[in-house]
Assembly symmetry: C2
Homo-oligomer: 414 residues x 2
């Protein structure tokens, strides 16, 4: 039995890894620009073999990896902190709230996991150039991992992409092409480019190993949680690949007989970027016409992995919820002030969502709940500045400082 086979998530057909690279040859043909991907491939492992070989006292994670370890890029990714915050649980009204802080990856987001595995695949295939369309974290992540691996990252971005995110990619040495158009234009052009000129396309969900890479965060949660399955995981959701990856992790573990059940996956979207949310709620898919949210990492018109994201929520017995920008920024402040974790707005959406669920019958108070923090707050300092006030300067004398602090205290200001 080979390491794994690809299986089409639409028609179920199986392929050897050498037979396909991106979408299912049949179902992928149905993909039209402007719609979610069809024919996304999933890696299916020999779960019987994993069941026999996997040992908790000496876990061999390579059993779950679609790429052999010898191809891995020389930069550590993952192994991020997982810990309980009693204070946050008290604040939000839940007994057991845990944080998986994936902002502490090298380029400061969970997307490093996907880029890591795709670059490993590029090593295996001896591809020198990896191409992606992105406006933010995925591109930074690809640029970082390509830098470590000595690969060329070619990144198409819409011309209005935020400068601060471009800085990171360019510093890592990526070739960045700002396109006069939208993200959808950049996405389409990156596909045209690799079709004609070659290189490996890392577009999210389009390359099936993006899902496999993101899967590792689910495996880590299980391990760090002392081999227990949490009751629920709240996942910030834009294009739907992260929630698809988390789902895949627990499906793999269940198929291998290592866990008895899946955690409930809760899809968290911004109110104005809610295509997957509506798809989950109604069963009918429609693009988000004008996505607009402070949480830029989950601001998506056409979520590429909408189909698998919906399946992840329904299959796990989870549900979907949306939050407003004000709630997101409040969630960012609550998380920082109660736990010491500074998360980007997209990641803060899960805190806002949990706050909204207080007292709801949809999520029990005593459940073990994991908040998946997907990116660091330093990725977008401007957003955080929207929600705080800078205090006025004080004369350099102790008496003046004491007076200022007393005045602030009297006003209820810190």
């Amino acid at each position: 039995m080979p390491r794994f086979r690809y299986q089409c998530s639409s028609c179920g057909q199986r392929f050897r890894r050498e037979e396909v690279r991106y979408l299912c040859p049949q179902c992928g043909r149905d993909y039209r620009p402007g719609m979610p991907l069809t024919g996304v491939l999933e890696a299916q492992f020999d779960y019987g073999a994993i069941r026999k070989k996997f040992r908790k006292d000496k876990p061999d994670w390579s059993l779950f990896s679609a790429v052999e370890k010898r191809f891995f890029p020389p930069i550590p990714v993952g192994n991020t902190p997982f810990f309980q915050s009693v204070a946050l649980g008290d604040e939000l009204g839940f007994d057991s709230v845990w944080i998986k802080n994936d902002g502490l990856n090298p380029s400061a987001s969970l997307k490093d996991r996907a880029s890591f595995l795709v670059v490993a695949e590029a090593n295996r295939l001896k591809e020198r150039t990896i191409v992606a369309a992105s406006t933010g974290n995925a591109a930074s992540a690809l640029a970082a991992i390509c830098a470590a691996a000595g690969k060329r990252a070619l990144i198409f971005v819409p011309q209005n992409a935020p400068k601060a995110k471009l800085v990171q990619m360019i510093l890592y040495g990526a070739t960045v092409v700002p396109v006069k158009g939208t993200y959808d234009d950049a996405f389409r052009l990156s596909l045209e480019y690799t079709a004609k000129r070659g290189g490996l396309n890392r577009n999210t969900a389009y390359h099936p190993l993006t899902i496999e890479g993101k899967k590792t965060v689910g495996l880590e949660i299980w391990w760090q949680n002392n081999w227990r399955v949490p009751d629920a995981i709240l996942v910030p959701t834009g294009d739907g690949v992260i929630i698809g990856g988390v789902h895949k992790a627990f499906c793999d573990l269940k198929a291998a007989g290592l866990i008895p059940r899946l955690p409930r996956l809760l899809c968290v979207q911004a109110e104005k970027s809610n295509a997957i949310h509506r798809y989950v709620e109604t069963g009918c898919y429609e693009n988000a016409a004008h996505p607009d949210t402070v949480a830029d990492s989950i601001s998506v018109s056409i979520p590429s992995n909408a189909h698998l994201a919906r399946r992840a929520v329904l299959d796990s017995g989870g549900f979907s919820i949306t939050v407003s920008d004000d709630e997101i920024l409040e969630g960012q402040r609550i998380l920082a002030a109660r736990t010491g974790v500074f998360a980007e707005p997209a990641a803060s959406a899960v805190v806002a969502a949990l706050k909204k669920l207080r007292g709801s019958k949809r999520l029990l108070r005593k459940a073990q709940i994991v908040l998946l923090i997907t990116g660091h707050g330093l990725k977008d300092v401007e957003a955080a500045m929207r929600s705080i006030a800078l205090p006025a300067a004080v004369e350099p004398a102790l008496a003046a400082i004491e007076a200022a602090l007393e005045a602030r205290s009297a006003k209820g200001v810190r």
Copy 2:
């Protein structure tokens, strides 16, 4: 035997932990604002007991900790990646270059380690407020750890402190007092404040556990390096507490008979913030009159821990070196492009220093060299923007993109 005793680094007198809190009662009196601290205390453990009890197959790091584990704040700090970069070694002309990436701490700098231990001490002493003067990373770190521990952080900053750094502290819920004056004014006022109003002062080196906290990065390097002592560690140096902490780690290990020798500690400063460098070279101390460098985290006029920093360099057989701002920004680009690590300018100074040492007899090509990366590049995106150019936007058509890439390639631009 108690956990440890404090020993004055100036006069050698020993104290029980309950007898002193900050400087040596005698030698600390000599401290005058405007000069480095005198009478800095060092924790001396029962090294014979450590020798007997410490086991590499089940390391108990609490043997080296000045505060009991039960007082630790509920946020994981440290355990950051340590790895070799062959590509960086090739670029810089050394055979074995390793990276300790401490930018991947919760608040994105090594200073979390010091704040973690001081907040643990505040838990032990039942102090609710922790006070510090800082302009940047130390204050963010204190704010983050205080948030996790439910403590109040009171932070004095000069009024011209960069806004982005203030955002982080305020979001964590710290009480921030901008002072109309310099960092030295803020430092003095924070001492006056705790002297009169109480609370625990966390000023760097002034509170001896800041050194003990930073020590943990040295212990981790030894462990992650398979219990071997590297030949040299390059340390970005501002106030001198980090290099003092790394030195203390290896001194503790040597005193416990666990290692045969110290690594050589290389002090790296910015050309225009070089008080410790000159002190090492000449033996005469003088403040840096007008510190001015893009590496704000090591921009210091009066390095509080100058005496112990100099001792760390001389005692370990190391040396000191300075780098220019241009070299620092080039070091930042080299590090990012070769390893995927985006470091703040202060941390990038060690890459610049190693580049300068190529071919020098001061550091052998075959030595095992560790670069201590003390903070993440996302802390200061503006600085990185100084050294890169954003490419022009291109029409959204494949032909236009191919033409643009060929033109850039012909010009030797990525």
